[in-house]
């Protein structure tokens, strides 16, 4: 009896460690790092999605971003997921969430800037701070597009089509 329990325990540890090995690391960043990312889009379409694990509509649309990221992996498209959970929840909530949902194609960062008013307008003056929020930064001189609402997969696809090489 004891042995079976031990075996199950060992097996679950094995499974968990496998999860962790596959899961990507989520780094906490400051706004300056995000600003840099926003500027680097000479030939790449950047799709930046702001989300939190506690935001239900955000969680619902995440798979679409992940799909787009996978689908256009060889193209000039980059998906960046900016998480807005508290930094103290990085290891306990955000990383397990990312592992459990198997998010691997998109880059994920936790933006550790709780003084929201200091940076929201810099991301976009059109953004109230409401989640979810998506910013499409096309390559070249095309105007940015902002979406302060959940997007469907087909909407997202449609919005980025014009910018894909």
């Amino acid at each position: 009896m004891m042995n079976i329990k031990k075996l199950i325990l060992l097996f679950s540890i094995f499974l968990c460690s496998g999860y962790w090995a596959m899961a990507q690391n989520v780094q906490a960043i400051k706004y300056s790092a995000l600003e840099k990312m926003l500027r680097q889009s000479k030939d790449t379409v950047l799709i930046i999605n702001f989300w939190a694990t506690w935001c239900k509509p955000c969680v619902e649309e995440l798979p679409y971003f992940e799909k787009i990221s996978k689908k256009y992996a060889g193209k000039n498209v980059k998906v960046v997921l900016i998480n807005l959970d508290m930094v103290k929840d990085l290891n306990t909530k955000v990383k397990p969430f990312v592992a459990k949902n198997n998010i691997r194609s998109s880059s994920i960062y936790l933006l550790d800037e709780p003084d929201y008013n200091s940076w929201i307008d810099q991301v976009s003056a059109d953004w109230s701070g409401s989640l979810p929020f998506t910013l499409i930064v096309p390559s070249g001189k095309n105007a940015r597009k902002t979406f302060e609402e959940p997007l469907t997969e087909s909407q997202l696809e449609k919005e980025i089509q014009p910018f894909i090489n």
């Binding site: 506690w54 709780p114 929201y116 008013n117 929201i120 307008d121 059109d126 109230s128 409401s130 959940p150």
Partner: protein, 196 residues
């Protein structure tokens, strides 16, 4: 062309921009958790109000719940009581139904009205897009003039770490007959669950 398209698109996606500071705000009359109607201006002795568009379910609104209770405790005696309003569509967010609002007001012992914006007209007219969003309005005769709107303070995670208390500072300025220095501030919040 692209810009024009974007403007057309945005007008579909987002509610109107809402009030600017100095605007006369709409006098609402909504159902409170005790089933009685409460209007902006219901308290004849008030110098103004702290109107907070909030809800039960949003974690950010929950993080601010105690701070909203405290704002009422501090400022109701000074003439600026809180009126809380929930505008979320209960079909999309069942935890924000009228009966859940009643439960919340009871369990958290709200000493202020908690009103249901069933048609979402108030949230739209005021220009709220996420919860919680605060509006500090000052009475001038029979009108209420917007003095501040936006975040409650600058740290939603932790009240004790907040270094700028936007709502308190606005009311303190109004009480001292001084101009409000910061008239609007943004914050991360939960998008209001608009009716589909």
């Amino acid at each position: 062309m692209a810009a024009a398209l974007l403007i057309v698109l945005s007008s579909f996606l987002l509610p109107a921009d809402g009030y600017k500071v100095g605007d006369k705000v709409m006098i609402f009359n909504l159902k409170n958790v005790d089933n009685k109607m409460v209007a902006l201006g219901h308290d004849a002795t008030a110098k103004g109000y702290i109107v907070v568009i909030t809800c039960n379910t949003c974690p950010v609104a929950q993080a601010y719940e105690q701070r909203i209770i405290d704002l009422n405790k501090t400022y109701a005696p000074k003439g600026y009581p809180v009126i809380a309003i929930n505008a979320n569509d209960s079909n999309r967010s069942p935890g924000d139904s009228f009966s859940e609002m009643q439960n919340r007001a009871k369990s958290s012992k709200y000493q202020f009205p908690y009103l249901l914006d069933q048609t979402q007209e108030v949230a739209k007219t005021y220009g709220a897009r996420s919860t919680p969003t605060a509006y500090v309005v000052k009475r001038e005769g029979n009108d209420y003039i917007l003095a501040y709107h936006g975040a409650i303070d600058n740290n939603s995670n932790d009240a004790s770490s907040a270094s700028v208390h936007y709502v308190s500072q606005a009311i303190n300025a109004l009480l001292a007959n001084k101009p409000v220095e910061i008239t609007t501030a943004k914050a991360i919040g939960c998008g209001i669950k608009w009716k589909m």
